[in-house]
C-alpha cells in the first residue's frame, strides 16, 4: 500500500480483526477487516449433554437466544435472535460455529480515534461479506485498494477517511467507490434509530 499512502491526505489506519471481538480498536480504524460467521451454529445435541454445562451455555449468549431443550437434555437456539457471535462455542465446543463454506470477512471504514478536528468515530459497514480465499484473499485486497484510491483521490488535505465520508455523505461514498448497498448495510440490530436519515436532503 506504500504508493497509496504517499498519495493519501492523512494517515490511514488499516486493521484486521480475526473475530468480532475486534481487539485493539479495530472498530475505530480508517479501513478494517473483520472476520465473521454468517449462520446460526448447529448443535450436536448428544455431545452438549455430555461435555457442556447447560446453564453456562445459556448465560453465554448475549442476545438470550439460547434456552433449555429438556427433551433432548440439550439447548435450542432462537434463530431470530442469534447474531452468530460464537460466544456459545467458546463455552461449549459441541455448538461448533465454524463453517468454512459460510465464514468470511466484512470491510468496515471511516473510524478514527484521535479527537483532531472531529470526534472519534466507529468504523461502519462498507462491504458485508467476502468468502475466505487463503492465502491471499485477492478480492479483499482489491476492494481495500479501491477504497483507498477513491479516498486518496477525493479527500481534502488532512481529512481522515471518516471525515471525508462525513463531508461527502455515505450515499456519495457508495457511488464513488461503486460498492453495492445491501440490506446488510442498514443497522437493524441495536442502533437503527440513530442511523436512519431524517431529511429529504441527500445527494443523487
Amino acid at each position: 500500500m506504500s504508493t497509496c499512502a504517499a498519495q493519501s491526505t492523512n494517515k490511514v489506519r488499516l486493521a484486521v480483526a480475526c473475530c468480532v471481538n475486534m481487539c485493539g480498536a479495530v472498530h475505530c480504524s480508517d479501513i478494517a477487516l473483520v472476520a465473521l460467521h454468517t449462520k446460526v451454529p448447529p448443535i450436536d445435541h448428544e455431545r452438549v449433554g455430555k461435555i457442556c454445562e447447560i446453564p453456562t451455555v445459556i448465560s453465554s449468549c448475549p442476545t438470550r437466544a439460547i434456552s433449555p431443550d429438556p427433551a433432548k437434555k440439550s439447548v435450542k437456539i432462537n434463530e431470530e435472535k442469534c447474531m452468530y457471535c460464537g460466544n456459545c462455542f467458546t463455552v461449549c465446543p459441541a455448538i461448533d460455529i465454524h463453517n468454512p463454506e459460510s465464514d468470511g470477512v466484512a470491510i468496515v471504514v471511516g473510524g478514527k480515534i484521535g479527537s483532531l478536528r472531529s470526534a472519534p468515530k466507529f468504523s461502519k459497514l462498507a462491504i458485508p461479506f467476502f468468502y475466505n480465499e487463503p492465502p491471499r484473499w485477492p478480492k479483499i485486497i482489491a476492494a481495500v485498494k479501491n477504497i483507498l484510491e477513491v479516498y486518496a483521490k477525493n479527500a481534502r488535505k488532512h481529512e481522515r477517511v471518516g471525515e471525508w465520508i462525513d463531508r461527502i455523505g455515505w450515499e456519495k461514498f457508495f457511488k464513488l467507490t461503486g460498492i453495492e448497498f445491501t440490506f446488510q448495510h442498514i443497522d437493524d440490530f441495536t442502533f437503527m434509530r440513530e442511523t436512519m436519515r431524517t431529511t429529504p436532503a441527500f445527494k443523487w
Binding site: 453456562t56 448465560s59 453465554s60 460466544n87 467458546t90
Partner: protein, 81 residues
Amino acid sequence: MEKEELKNKIFEYMQKYKGKKKLKEKDVWKGVGEETGVPGDEVKKALREMIDVGKLMYSYGGGASSVEIPSEEYLKEKGLL
C-alpha cells in the same frame, strides 16, 4: 474468631456450594461474613491467604472468574499433593 477457625469456616462454606454455584471472591466475603459475624475485610484476608497456598484457587470459565476448591489434578501439578 481465630484465623484458623475462620479459614475452616471459609472452607466449609466453599464445600457447601461446590458444584452448585460459582462463587466470586465477594460472594465468599459476604456469605461467610453473614454466617460468622466476622467483618468482610477479615474474611477477605483469610480467603486470600488460603488462595496463596493453594488451599483454594481462582478459576475461570465463560468469561467470568470465580473461587473454587482445587482439584487433585491441580494440586499435583503445583506439587502440593
